[in-house]
Structure formats: structure tokens, C-alpha cells
């Protein structure tokens, strides 16, 4: 910048008043106002959208303490909904289903995603083809068509049991036996490992080859390289994937709904938390209870996420 423009803004130099009484300060203030106004205008749709999220957020907290069926005005019943939840065996079952599903399928699918990403990252011909084949299922996994397909692949005479028959194993009734129905959905989740895989792949490519060379010179074998170079440098991405997958898996709905045709059968073994919430809120129209359920799940998810953030201090490594 030129010297003259610096001089006029140098601190301590009093700004001479203009003829029409407009000072530099007031010009700046007006400019700021204009900037503010432009910013708010651009954010206008978002502000309206936020209103549409913030108000329902608190409204559902209020409804959690009421008895409401959409026809009569909500009536305050204090902690009654939560007291009912304590004795609601179906609710406990749905919590169990959701926890088992999340805690088994999320680590498994992330492990598979990381493993395959590492094989791909070692450099291989035809990478785009492999990546496409592995990634596509994760775009389809939540669709009704694929869950329907799963019902039949795992049916009593389904493809899976026929394959098992070839190797001399008598397959169970995957979708009709309460012991196995959830397993079927866990396998479906693992089948969609493609999207965390692509994120891992991008993360792996950020690790400088130099680190591996240095480790190799120091005599580290491949496992040691994985433990001391790959894992620490990839840990922020693993952490990110873990949080995202957990939050999503706790809200699983389509899979359980289509698999059991909305019932959570057999023997409530696929009664996911959100499916039960849907039954309570939108088939029985017990909206107070559904809101209370929603808040309990929110608190569970928040606690788990918070716990993860605390634990992250011990295993997530930030380079900067």
C-alpha cells in the first residue's frame, strides 16, 4: 500500500470532519451496517430453517412432560412418561436391540473399511473399479429395495442358506428366528462399509510416505508401522467416522421397518428404538410419550458422544 493511504488511518491522527458532517467513523459504521445487512440477507433462509429446528427442539422437551394425542390440548403430567418408561418392557427391548446393533455393527464395519482402504492404498491397478464396487452398496444400503432384497437372500430357502447347504451347514431361519434376525441387519450394515472406506482412503493418502520409509529404516515391520505410523496419524479420521456412524446407527429406522414390515418381529428382535418411537407416536398417537422417548435417546447419544470425546484425549493424535 502507498504511504499516503497509511498516513490517513494512522492511530492518533484526528480525522478532520467533512463538510457535510460525515466522519470516517460514521462511514465505517454505515459500511459495517451494510455488510451486516447483506450477511443476514444471505442467511435468511437458514435463519427460518433454524427457527424450524430450534422451536421444535424445545417444544418436544415440553411435550415430553405432557399427555398429548393431537386432538386434545397437551396436559402436563410431570415425570409420568419417564416413570412409565422405567416399567416398559418393550422399550427396554428396543434399547437392547439398538445398543447391540450399534456396538457390533459400527466397529465391525469401520474395521472392514480400514482394512480394505489399506489394501487399496498400497497401490494397485484398477483402483477406481474396486473403489466403485465397494462404495456403491453404501449408497443403496438404506433403500427399501435393498432391505427387501435382504429379506429374500436371507430367507429360509434363500441364497445364503443354499450356499451354507453346499458346505454342509444347515442355515437358520435368518429372518424368522429371533436369534438371527438382528444379525441379518448387522451384515447389511457391514455391507455398506464403502463410505467410511472412501474417507479412510483419503486420510491414508495424506500420510507422507517419508514416515513409512523412516520407520522401515529403523527396522519396523509392517505391523509396527501400522501401529506407530498409520493408526496415530489416522486417528482423527477414525474418531470422526466413529462418532458419525454411532449417531446414525442409533437412529436406524428403514431397515427395521421394512425387514419386519413395521412390527419389529420376530419376538421384537428387530424392534429398534426409533421403530418403537414411531409406533408410539404415529400409530398410537401417544405423542407425549414419543417425545419423552426422543429425549431419552438424545441424552443417550449425547452421553456416548461426550464419552467418546473424553476418551479421544487418550487415543486421538492431532499432528498440529
Amino acid at each position: 500500500m502507498s504511504v499516503s493511504s497509511d498516513a490517513s488511518t494512522r492511530a492518533g491522527t484526528p480525522t478532520p470532519p467533512r463538510v457535510d458532517g460525515v466522519t470516517a467513523a460514521s462511514i465505517r459504521a454505515r459500511k459495517k451496517l451494510r455488510n451486516d445487512r447483506a450477511g443476514y440477507l444471505f442467511l435468511l433462509p437458514w435463519f427460518l430453517g433454524m427457527l424450524f429446528m430450534v422451536v421444535p427442539f424445545f417444544a418436544s422437551l415440553y411435550l415430553a412432560f405432557t399427555d398429548y394425542n393431537l386432538l386434545n390440548p397437551p396436559g402436563w403430567i410431570g415425570l409420568e412418561n419417564f416413570r412409565t418408561m422405567l416399567g416398559d418392557a418393550k422399550l427396554h427391548q428396543s434399547l437392547k436391540v439398538t445398543f447391540v446393533y450399534s456396538f457390533v455393527s459400527v466397529p465391525l464395519s469401520l474395521a472392514v473399511a480400514l482394512g480394505v482402504a489399506m489394501i487399496l492404498n498400497r497401490g494397485i491397478r484398477g483402483l477406481p473399479v474396486y473403489r466403485a464396487v465397494f462404495y456403491l452398496p453404501s449408497l443403496l444400503g438404506g433403500s427399501v429395495a435393498v432391505v427387501l432384497l435382504w429379506r429374500y437372500i436371507f430367507g429360509l430357502d434363500g441364497v445364503v442358506n443354499q450356499f451354507l447347504g453346499w458346505v454342509g451347514v444347515e442355515g437358520p431361519g435368518w429372518t424368522s428366528d429371533p436369534q438371527y434376525a438382528l444379525t441379518t441387519l448387522i451384515i447389511l450394515h457391514i455391507w455398506t462399509f464403502g463410505s467410511p472406506m472412501v474417507i479412510f482412503l483419503a486420510g491414508l493418502r495424506q500420510i507422507p510416505a517419508l514416515y513409512y520409509e523412516a520407520a522401515a529404516i529403523d527396522g519396523a515391520n509392517r505391523f509396527q508401522q501400522f501401529r506407530s505410523v498409520t493408526l496415530p496419524l489416522l486417528s482423527p479420521i477414525i474418531f470422526f467416522n466413529l462418532i458419525q456412524s454411532l449417531i446414525a446407527s442409533f437412529q436406524t429406522f428403514t431397515q427395521s421397518f421394512v425387514m419386519s414390515n413395521g412390527t419389529g418381529q420376530p419376538a421384537d428382535s428387530t424392534l429398534f428404538y426409533n421403530l418403537y418411537l414411531y409406533q408410539k407416536g404415529f400409530t398410537e398417537f401417544d405423542m407425549g410419550y414419543a417425545s419423552a422417548m426422543a429425549w431419552v435417546l438424545l441424552v443417550i447419544i449425547a452421553l456416548l458422544t461426550g464419552l467418546n470425546f473424553v476418551a479421544a484425549r487418550y487415543w486421538v493424535f492431532y499432528d498440529n
Partner: protein, 299 residues
């Protein structure tokens, strides 16, 4: 323009080349890796291939003929499946298509405006709002469900497309805002300065400078919106009860209610019809998808 191009965030070196360059290990270890990856690939692709193959077989042999290449062909599954439900399948396809198109328009419009505001403008409270926006990334949507349903019911919007569309016009999906913010932040600020000197206000700068340069981010947003709205099951299930308004996923579910053996082939045929647009978009837009999830961890 060369300066601009070199600073764009979306120019990773071509995958194939760099990977070949780093291709590591002995010939045997490379062979082992290919075998392993092919095996995984077969397992991943088999269910989809089986679905396509089953849609071409007579329903009676779907579960006895395991071969992917049908021993007996039955193409009639497609025309019969098309008319098997209460409405012809074209009605559901058209409904889904209308909803998806409007959702894409809404997301591109509202999220790009918000993203430009966050990424390029300075105004009071920007940091606070941005933090709030990031907070909604992690907010589980099920908490909002009941009150939103009540609002839509009071507005008399049940059994209309408004509950499915309006949220998209209000930038409620923070993922897309975040994706566009990341992209716009990487564009050089000199562009804005130059535009201002030339007399452009913020709207003109957005429309004539930033928007054309952000088209890759728009493409990513559009493709992700397409796939997620096309597959969306819960919202239509909640709000649509009139079969004439059904989207494709709601329609497909009706095949379960009529669980007769005679319908298997037709069900798989219509399942494939419902997945084909997603697969098509995936093949056409793979570049944008991979880039999108690599930069934001979307989905």
C-alpha cells in the same frame, strides 16, 4: 485464471497414476491383493446381481435356480410389475422425480446462499451462527419429529409434498452448507476484492464470481441430494397416506403386504427399476461423490 485454477481445492492428481507409481510389493503380494479384493468384490456385488437376475426369471424358479445367468428367461416381470400395485409404477417414479428435483433446487438455493454468507461475508454474530450450524450437524433429527409433525398437521399439510420439500428450501441440512463453505473458503479472496473495486455488491459478487467457480460443490450437493431424497423412506411414510402421492420406496413396500410367491419376480424387477437411477447417477457423478465425502465426511 491459472492462479485461480491452481488454488481450487478440487484438483487431486489423477488417482490411477499416483497409485500405479506407488504400487508396492513383490509380484506375488500384488497378486494376493488382487485375489483378496476380487473376492470381496464378488461378495459385495452378488446381492445386486442376484436381484437383477431374479427379475429376469419366472417367479417359480427364483429360489431354485441359483445361477446368475437365468436358465429360463421371463421378461414379463417388468410389464406385470409395472401395473401390479394400485397405481402404475410410472406414477410413483414421476412423484419421486418431482420431489427429488425440487429438493435439489431448494438445497442448492438455500445452502449456497448460507454458505456464501458464512464463507465470504463479515457480519455481527457470524462465528456464533456458524457454531450453531455445525452443532445441527450432530443433532439427531428424531427429536424434532413430533413437534414438526404437529406443525405440519396444523398447517393442514398432511398428505401433501410440503413437509418433504419446505425444509430443503430452508437450508436445514447443514452438511451441504458445510460442504459449500469448505469449497468457497478455498477460493482466493482477491476475487472478492477485485469485484468490489469493479463496483460489485455482495449479491453481484456471489452471482457472477463465486457461484460459477463453485459449480463442482453444487454438483456434489445435487448428487448427494438426489440419492438421499430418492431413497428417503421415513418422511414420506409419515406424511403421505394417499397411494396416488406415494414415492417409489413407499410403493415398493407394498410388495411385502402382498407377499405371494407369484410376485417375487415382479418385486425384484421393480426393485431394480427403483435402484437404476441411483446407480446411473453414481456412475455419472462418481468423481464428485468421492471428492465430497473425502472433504467433509458426508454420509
Amino acid at each position: 485464471m491459472s492462479i485461480i485454477n491452481s488454488q481450487l481445492p478440487e484438483t487431486p492428481p489423477d488417482d490411477e497414476d499416483t497409485y500405479l507409481e506407488r504400487s508396492a510389493g513383490s509380484r506375488r503380494s500384488r497378486f494376493t491383493r488382487h485375489v483378496l479384493l476380487c473376492a470381496i468384490g464378488v461378495v459385495m456385488a452378488y446381492p445386486l446381481l442376484w436381484m437383477i437376475s431374479s427379475s429376469l426369471k419366472p417367479s417359480g424358479i427364483v429360489f431354485t435356480d441359483l445361477a446368475l445367468w437365468p436358465s429360463t428367461w421371463d421378461l414379463s416381470n417388468y410389464p406385470r410389475g409395472w401395473t401390479a400395485l394400485s397405481e402404475p409404477f410410472s406414477v410413483y417414479l414421476l412423484n419421486s422425480f418431482v420431489i427429488v428435483t425440487l429438493s435439489i433446487v431448494g438445497n442448492l438455493f438455500s445452502c449456497s446462499l448460507a454458505a456464501y454468507g458464512f464463507a465470504r461475508l463479515k457480519f455481527a454474530g457470524r462465528k456464533l451462527f456458524f457454531a450453531l450450524m455445525l452443532g445441527t450437524l450432530m443433532l439427531p433429527g428424531h427429536v424434532l419429529l413430533v413437534p414438526q409433525y404437529i406443525v405440519f398437521a396444523k398447517l393442514d399439510w398432511l398428505n401433501t409434498y410440503y413437509p418433504l420439500l419446505v425444509p430443503h428450501f430452508l437450508a436445514t441440512n447443514a452438511f451441504y452448507i458445510f460442504l459449500m463453505v469448505q469449497f468457497m473458503r478455498a477460493l482466493p479472496t482477491e476475487l472478492d476484492d477485485a469485484a468490489r473495486i469493479d463496483g460489485c455488491g455482495p449479491f453481484r459478487t456471489f452471482w457472477s464470481i463465486i457461484l460459477p467457480l463453485s459449480l463442482p460443490a453444487f454438483a456434489t450437493t445435487a448428487i448427494f441430494t438426489f440419492i438421499s431424497v430418492w431413497n428417503e423412506f421415513f418422511t414420506p411414510l409419515l406424511y403421505l397416506t394417499d397411494p396416488q402421492l406415494y414415492t417409489v420406496p413407499l410403493a415398493l413396500r407394498q410388495f411385502v403386504d402382498s407377499d405371494g410367491q407369484s410376485q417375487w419376480g415382479q418385486m425384484f424387477a421393480m426393485s431394480f427399476v427403483s435402484l437404476a437411477p441411483v446407480i446411473g447417477f453414481f456412475i455419472a457423478g462418481q468423481k464428485y461423490l468421492v471428492r465430497g465425502i473425502a472433504t467433509t465426511g458426508l454420509k
